[in-house]
């Protein structure tokens, strides 16, 4: 009952949110002077007036705002995200082609940041005044304060130029031939630097939060009891305390999911990662309204699903959530 109701409520919210995202952004895009015909002309080194007019007519850009908006919403209601003026492709196809790459990057970065962050947090929580604590704090703050594009370039110069451990850009080496595992390793090598770069921002959050949360839990009564009945320190920390310490971290991770997604825009640009971030960036520059709205639509969807999964994960570690009796 609880889960079903939550999901149902989420779906209603989601639809309202999506409509708001589309109408608001469509209007904002429309307010700016100039349109996609100008960027198409730019990509062609200029175009004669006739051609510009032809482009505007064929994409309906000559129609009044309200007509354009109405048409767009009507199409979306029929699950048609429209046609990209700039890329000459259906938006859905364009996005679905890019979505897997972004999901791979975002999920890899998120899992890495979460896992390493929690491990570091726990290590420093166990010896709050030890050397390890300071090292972890320094690393965390460094990752958090350095801009991702700078971290990215720095990692590139170190690991791609000075030592040739990782490739510079892209998601795969197209000249490589071989079976699944060859390609798997190739993609993993390409993924490493972007995922580390993107993860570096969130590592700080997760390690700081898990440290604080762990310290709080370690001071509670049941931990003292566990210690008193003779469990080893490791057993206490990893078997009993960690589960309770995790729940604020998971909540934060869920909330941060949208931030990871927007962080991906910059990271993808630095590493030419062929994902939604690169596409979003290019379509904004190109004023390609259908593509931008399509990406926002999908991003909102991904964030909603991410939050829903967070809720479910919280229920797993903490049965009190959801108010089940």
């Amino acid at each position: 009952m609880g889960i079903l109701r939550t999901i149902l409520l989420r779906v209603v919210y989601a639809i309202l949110l999506l409509v708001a995202v589309l109408v608001l952004n469509f209007s904002l895009m429309h307010l700016a002077p100039g349109d996609v015909a100008d960027t198409i002309s730019q990509s062609m080194g200029g175009a004669d007036q006739e051609i510009l007019d032809e482009i505007r007519v064929s994409y309906g850009l000559d129609q009044p705002f309200i007509v354009q908006l109405g048409r767009y919403i009507a199409n979306v209601a029929q699950f048609d995200l429209g046609y990209s003026f700039f890329y000459n492709q259906p938006v859905t196809k364009l996005i679905l082609e890019r979505l897997p790459a972004t999901l791979l990057l975002v999920i890899a970065a998120q899992i890495a940041a979460l896992f390493i962050g929690v491990v570091l947090g726990v290590i420093s929580a166990r010896k709050p005044n030890g050397l390890s604590n300071y090292v972890v704090t320094f690393l965390a703050l460094f990752g958090y304060s350095a801009p991702v594009f700078w971290t990215g370039i720095l990692l590139l110069i170190t690991f791609s130029l000075n030592v040739h451990w990782f490739p510079v850009a892209g998601m795969r080496d197209v000249t490589i031939e071989g079976g699944f595992w060859v390609h798997f390793i190739d993609v993993a090598r390409h993924l490493f630097l972007p995922a580390v770069t993107l993860g570096s921002i969130f590592l700080a959050l997760y390690s700081r939060l898990s440290r604080a949360s762990m310290m709080e839990v370690l001071g509670s009564d049941y931990v003292r009891t566990a210690k008193a009945k003779g469990l080893t320190s490791n057993q206490v920390v990893y078997k009993h305390a960690l589960k309770n310490a995790l729940s604020p971290v998971i909540t934060l991770a869920g909330l941060q999911f949208s931030a990871v997604l927007s962080g991906a825009v910059l990271v993808e640009a630095v590493f030419s990662w062929p994902g939604l971030g690169t596409l979003a960036f290019q379509s904004i520059i190109a004023r390609d309204t259908p593509t931008i709205l399509g990406i926002l639509f999908f991003s909102a969807l991904v964030v909603i699903i991410g939050n829903l999964l967070t809720d479910l994960a919280l229920r797993l570690v903490d049965p009190r959530v959801g108010g089940q009796k």
């Binding site: 700016a32 349109d35 062609m44 004669d48 082609e97 850009a169 892209g170 062929p274």
Partner: protein, 523 residues
């Protein structure tokens, strides 16, 4: 003394290396995969409906044109083994090679040439290329006759490089709009030396050798990978660590100069004469003080080109004095260059009736369309302050915002970058012709009108004698330099980067927007 001897020995050794190098270049190696890079995502692979440098490179590999050009602007046979222009200049006959086939095996005939001309005429953004062509006759399979309403010497360049693509009628003639035809990006059937293997938007374009290409023994390469890497710093690292063999259109001075220092890389600005990219300061000649040519001259005298060349472009760009690129045979270097002269500038402003009132004489705004040229704009502001012109920099949120302002001439001054696109008729006239005022971005956004300039352009457009044509354009450039609708400052420093493994890189007038069937990998 020892040093001198050592020097001689090294020089001799170097000469020996050069000599063997020359021999090696005579016998290009076959095979291999050339890894190259494109800086922006490709929208369309069909140059018949899409111009621009991003389409040009893959487009020229996939599709053949009737002609190609060498480094000296001389047309060479390509899909047309020979051609003939009639005495009166009103018919151009193309004799096509007989063994040419499309990538699906269907022979290339004069029908396809006629169809391609029609398609380009109707859908290509540069109307001027084929506007005088009234019809194309196809007396036999391998002869196409273009009938013109007036002589049109620009046609030769318009039939080369990326400006023309012979596209298959049996694919694109199916009634769908060729501009948005699905076969522009998928399953492309071309006529050029390489065929499409895979196009992944935002990721790469992969081409492989077309075995039935109509030139025997070519192309040399088995495969070309065009990776899409938008970040210039990432591209630079990829050149340096050898992940990429070759790339073109690098334009950031700092990166160009850094790559020049890398041992196994060659960085050159050869190969951009055809595209002819120019930077300039555009002035709205219809508004306020800028209506007065003396004010425009005063601005030119106050803006120090030397500073732009040395400090902003860090020595990577060339001087350019007119609307025609310095690499073009029509370029006239003997025009007024406006070397820095603040006194002259102030005198001209006084003379024009704008004396100093307090801190300044009058206010102007300056626009720019992309972040890369912000230093130029800020410099102009600082430079003009010295002669009493208060300049306000107006930023645009993005390119379309700026383009809309320019298109409607809602500006005083703006930094601008415009390409020549081969013949002046195609890319130069549009900026100065009085019939093209305020027709979108990169039209005559200066509102400039001069009857003699119009007349010179009209005469040059139909003049078939190259010497007479050069003379007409020489006068045209003198007037432009004197009346300054735009103040020409420098070429855009496009550079091609390639490593030592690349033999015969494409450095002709069209650079990489030309078939690279003669490029090879040394090992």
């Amino acid at each position: 003394m020892k040093h001198i001897l050592k020097g001689i020995v090294t020089a001799t050794a170097a000469a020996a290396v050069l000599a063997t190098g020359a021999i090696a270049e005579d016998s290009p190696r076959k095979g291999g995969t050339l890894i190259t890079v494109i800086a922006t995502n490709v929208r369309n692979l069909n140059p018949a409906v899409q111009s621009g440098i991003v389409t040009g490179y893959p487009g020229a590999q996939l599709f053949a044109a009737p002609l190609r050009y060498d480094e000296d602007w001389t047309p060479q046979p390509y899909l047309a083994k020979s051609w003939d222009v009639s005495e009166d200049g009103l018919t151009v006959t193309l004799n096509l090679v007989e063994n040419a086939v499309f990538h699906d095996g269907v022979p290339i005939t004069s029908e396809d040439v006629a169809f391609s001309v029609e398609t380009i005429k109707a859908h290509h953004p540069f109307k001027s290329m084929f506007a005088p062509v009234t019809s194309v006759d196809t007396p036999d399979e391998h002869t196409a006759v273009l009938n013109l309403s007036k002589p049109h010497p620009a046609l030769m360049l318009a039939m080369s490089g990326q400006l023309m693509a012979i596209i298959p009628k049996h694919i694109y003639g199916d009634g769908q709009n060729p501009k948005t035809h699905p076969r522009n990006t998928e399953n492309v059937v071309g006529s050029g030396p390489f065929k499409l293997v895979e196009y992944k938007s935002g990721e790469h374009v992969i081409l492989e050798r077309f075995d039935d290409f109509f030139i025997e023994g070519r192309p040399y390469l088995d495969k070309i990978v065009m990776r899409i890497i938008t970040d210039p710093a990432a591209r630079a690292i990829a050149y340096e660590n050898g992940e990429i063999h070759m790339g073109a259109f690098e334009s950031l001075p700092r990166i160009i100069n850094r790559l020049k220092k890398v041992d196994n890389l060659t960085v050159t600005d050869e190969g951009y004469g055809g595209i002819g990219p120019l930077d300039w300061l555009a002035m709205n000649t219809t508004k306020g003080p800028l209506k007065d040519v003396r004010v425009r001259k005063a601005i030119a005298y106050a803006v120090d080109k030397n500073f732009i060349h040395k400090a902003l472009m860090e020595g990577t760009a060339s001087n350019s004095l007119t609307g025609i690129h310095p690499d073009s045979p029509f370029y006239n270097a003997n025009v007024e260059g406006y070397d820095l002269d603040l006194d002259k500038s102030r005198a001209l402003l006084d003379e024009a009736g704008f004396p100093m009132k307090g801190d300044s004489r009058f206010n102007l705004t300056i626009d720019f369309g992309w972040p890369g040229v912000k230093p130029q704009v800020e410099y102009v502001k600082a430079a003009l302050k010295k002669v009493g012109i208060a300049v306000e920099v107006r930023a645009s949120a993005d390119f379309p915002t700026w383009a809309a302002r320019m298109g409607e001439m809602d500006y005083d001054m703006s930094w601008d970058t415009v390409f020549n696109w081969g013949d002046p008729v195609i890319g130069v006239h549009r900026t100065y012709s009085s019939s093209n005022i305020a027709k979108g971005v990169w039209s005559n956004t200066q509102g400039y009108a001069n009857a003699r300039v119009d007349e010179l352009m009209e005469m040059a457009a139909v003049e078939t004698d190259p010497a007479k044509r050069t003379a007409l354009y020489a006068e045209f450039q003198e007037i432009i330099a004197d009346e300054l609708p735009v103040y020409h400052t420098n070429t855009l420093p496009y550079h091609t980067v390639y490593n030592d493994n690349v033999g015969n890189p494409p450095l002709g007038i069209w650079g990489t927007s030309t078939p690279i069937d003669m490029t090879y990998l040394k090992n």
